[in-house]
């Protein structure tokens, strides 16, 4: 009886479920890889220099011709961008495949970029153009006479059709760096993530400063003083439940409690002369940080409590047996040993907060804030001001951008940056936590 099972092992008829489970893992991994691939591919698009083609097509009023950058093409149609003489995003061409008569890629095609983000496509010699003094006027075939340009107005001169793969990559890297470290330029939507990046970092730092003390204190009370009393169990259950409350509800709570409540009260007290335009009674940096602090409080409490539980009992008893009071034991022995756990809690909270967008839509992040929340002007950190946020920029660029083709690519780039930040933080938390586990094993071994 026992042996038949093993003898017939090769013919396991009931095992197809096992393969379904294995397939689920494979499919999940494939989905993860596909997501990353799509994100990488999409975010590279706005930075890779597009080929510039001489297009001839059948328009409504007869054949037309233009020099344009190919933005995207599929089986049915082709989207190209012609020279933006008027405004950014205003010169897209949408040509059905059937209407396309001719397409050539002249090697002397130039892509010129202006400081305001507009691009012009002309023909000429890139080196000669680059060598001109900045005051010199440009004279290239195809330029409208009523829109004169000087060399100094150009920020980038490329001959994209002559670039090899290495050159394209170099240009893309330069552009991507300029995008990450640049500021948005006026009404053109966006051309830089720096304010959003700074806004995110400042927000997250402020949130950490708010959440860590309270979270650690609550965890200490729960784990060290409250024991298993009914009150502690109630609070513990509440914290566990708080962790499952949707983030948008925190946003609403922040809106009512901080913006409508505290903020309006502060305005009535201290800024009555500025009313009805609100100073504190509107979404801002401080309210957002407080809301995120509330949101991450359960994360911190749970992680710190877990860390406290890992401190070997022998160390606690050793300290107590020497005559230390409970507070002295906690301060001198337990907290130093649990320091990596505090770090883990902080990183987890930051990772959670950095990726959270929904509550910020209610309490303070905006599409376009001209000033950074942090600057050289007193009081340096502007707590009441609205600010830009990386995650919010992703949402904003994706759904409300003026120049769809560019903004969508930039939305993906912003998303990629956000993803890198959040995943790096989480990876750090995982590494620290694993170290911590090893250490606590060593301490108790």
């Amino acid at each position: 009886m026992l042996r038949t099972g093993t003898r017939h092992a090769p013919r396991r008829r009931g095992d197809s479920g096992l393969w379904l489970a294995a397939g689920a893992v494979a499919l999940s991994l494939a989905a993860l890889i596909a997501l990353l691939f799509v994100l990488l591919q999409q975010s590279a698009r706005p930075f890779l220099p597009a080929a510039v083609a001489e297009l001839r097509w059948q328009g409504a009023a007869g054949p037309q011709q233009a020099l344009a950058a190919i933005v995207r093409e599929d089986a049915d149609e082709l989207i190209a961008r012609a020279s933006e003489w008027q405004r950014r995003g205003g010169a897209y061409l949408r040509i059905a495949r059937a209407d396309l008569l001719e397409r050539t890629f002249p090697p002397d095609a130039l892509a010129l970029r202006l400081a305001d983000g507009r691009e012009l496509y002309l023909r000429g010699d890139a080196h000669a153009l680059a060598a001109l003094p900045s005051a010199a006027g440009l004279a290239l075939p195809g330029m409208p006479a009523e829109l004169p340009l000087r060399r100094g107005e150009l920020v980038e001169i490329l001959a994209p059709n002559q670039l090899g793969p290495g050159g394209r990559l170099r240009v893309a890297t330069q552009r991507a760096w300029a995008f990450v470290s640049g500021s948005p330029g006026g009404d053109s939507g966006s051309a830089g993530l720096l304010p959003a990046l700074v806004g995110t970092v400042v927000l997250v730092l402020l949130m950490s400063v708010l959440v860590m003390p309270l979270g650690v204190l609550v965890a200490l009370w729960l784990h060290e003083y409250a024991g298993r009393g009914a009150l502690a169990q109630l609070l513990r259950a509440a914290v566990a439940n708080l962790a499952g409350v949707p983030s948008v509800i925190y946003g609403l709570f922040g809106l009512v409690l901080f913006v409508h409540g505290l903020g309006a009260g502060l305005d009535a007290l201290f800024h009555a002369d500025a009313l009805p335009s609100p100073t504190w009674g509107t979404g801002g940096l401080l309210w957002s940080a407080l809301t995120l602090a509330l949101l991450t409080l359960p994360v911190v409490v749970i992680a710190v409590e877990e860390g406290l539980a890992r401190v070997p009992a022998g160390l606690r008893q050793g300290a107590l047996a020497l005559g230390a009071t409970r507070a002295e034991m906690l301060w001198r022995v337990v907290l130093p040993v649990a320091r990596p756990a505090l770090l883990t809690a902080l990183i987890l909270a930051v990772a959670r907060a950095a990726g959270e967008v929904a509550p910020l839509m209610l309490v303070g992040a905006v599409k376009y804030a001209p000033a950074l929340p942090l600057d050289g002007e007193f009081p340096y950190l502007h707590l009441s001001k609205q600010f830009m946020h990386l995650g919010h920029s992703v949402y904003d660029l994706a759904l409300t951008g003026a120049d769809a083709q560019r903004d969508l690519g930039e939305a993906h780039a912003a998303a990629l940056l956000l993803l890198i930040v959040v995943v790096a933080l989480n990876a750090a938390a995982i590494v620290v936590r694993n170290r911590l586990r090893e250490r606590s094993r060593e301490l108790s071994a």
Binding site: R12, R326, V357, I430
Partner: protein
């Protein structure tokens, strides 16, 4: 060995302890009070959240016209998300906890944790801008892919059992999931071709979505977002079941799968149920994916090919514009209360069910 005489008489140290005793006792009292105050503050905040919702929520007359479609939208989104998350998350959990080779498990666990950390706005972006326009033309291909997937997996499995040499089978034991990636990719390619091929006919017309931003897209992406939650909790529950239980069954002639299905899964069932409940709760509350990729049209339709508007997305859209204290704001708060209570009930249920699993495992 001799004990050197102490260089200090015994009293000074004892005296110093005595002098500090009151200070130390006072510090201890203040530490205790401070910590209790922090806990009380947290307790107050916890209480405040449902109370303010209760106090100012006001359905007005808009229950049927406004709130019902939103509630239906939330439930529809979460339901389709679970249809994706349960097979993927649970299947992966079963594989990872019971069958995967230890090195593979050590790789998979953090990988799923990273997956869980991907910000929702990133997934929403891809859902709205890449997945939705693409899927609008490929519903048929997706249907073909999903229909053929279990068959393909099972066929690959039995082919491997029959054709691979025992040495190879042993070498790949616990790593079979890698073997399945090429067939899955092949199947995906095939499905795309079939989709194009069949797409022109009547079936294609039937499966053409009303809008690219629909329940199907939400189901797929929200499902992927929730899947790691389901995975983590279910994996924990399944991994906690003692190995002896399964090996005893296998010794009696059960296959690996039978041992899992008849013995391990029933024992771990409460944990798996908790995983599903928490996944449902997360899907209900998830905002950004639904906001970006659902079209945000308040419809009362169950079809996966039509759009929806969920409570959470509605809050994110309307709350910033609504004036505090207005009837509109009251309605928003009412919808938030609804969402809050739903999530609370689901979380509490999950916690209760998990406590049951813990008791059951402690008994084993």
């Amino acid at each position: 060995m001799s004990v050197p005489a102490s260089t200090y008489p015994a009293t000074p140290l004892a005296l110093r302890f005595a002098q500090r005793a009151r200070l130390r006792a006072r510090r201890e009292r203040w530490a205790r009070r401070g910590l209790a105050a922090a806990a009380a503050l947290l307790g107050l905040l916890v209480m405040a959240m449902p109370l303010f919702l209760l106090a100012s929520a006001n359905a007005g007359g808009g229950w049927r016209d406004l709130l019902l479609p939103l509630l239906a939208g939330s439930i529809k989104a979460a339901f389709y998300a679970l249809l994706v998350a349960i097979p993927l998350g649970l299947g992966s959990a079963i594989w990872c906890a019971r069958f995967a080779a230890p090195p593979l498990r050590r790789l998979l666990k953090p990988l799923f944790e990273v997956f869980e950390a991907v910000p929702a706005v990133v997934l929403g972006l891809i859902a709205a801008l890449v997945l939705a326009p693409w899927l609008a033309r490929q519903v048929l291909a997706l249907a073909v892919f999903l229909a053929l997937l279990p068959l393909t997996l099972a066929a690959c499995g039995s082919a491997w059992q029959r054709l691979a040499s025992p040495a190879w089978r042993r070498r790949m034991q616990g790593r079979e999931s890698w073997l399945l990636i090429p067939p899955i990719l092949l199947l995906a390619g095939l499905a795309l071709q079939l989709g194009v091929w069949l797409g022109g006919g009547a079936v294609g017309a039937l499966l053409r979505p009303a809008t690219p931003w629909n329940g199907l897209v939400i189901g797929l992406m929200l499902g992927l977002a929730v899947m790691p939650t389901v995975f983590t909790l279910a994996e924990e529950a399944l991994f906690g079941v003692p190995v002896e239980l399964a090996s005893a069954a296998q010794a009696l002639g059960a296959t690996r799968w039978q041992a899992l299905w008849r013995l391990v899964l029933p024992v771990a069932a409460p944990g798996v149920l908790a995983a599903v409940l928490l996944g449902f709760s997360r899907a209900l509350g998830e905002t950004m994916i639904v906001l970006m990729a659902s079209g945000n049209t308040p419809l009362l339709e169950a079809s996966p090919l039509s759009g929806l508007r969920s409570i959470a997305a509605n809050l994110a859209l309307e709350a910033p514009e609504a004036a505090g204290g207005s009837a509109h704001f009251g309605q928003l708060l009412y919808s938030a209360l609804l969402l809050f209570v739903l999530c609370l009930v689901l979380n509490t249920l999950a916690e209760m069910v998990r406590a049951r699993l813990r008791r059951r495992l402690a008994g084993l």
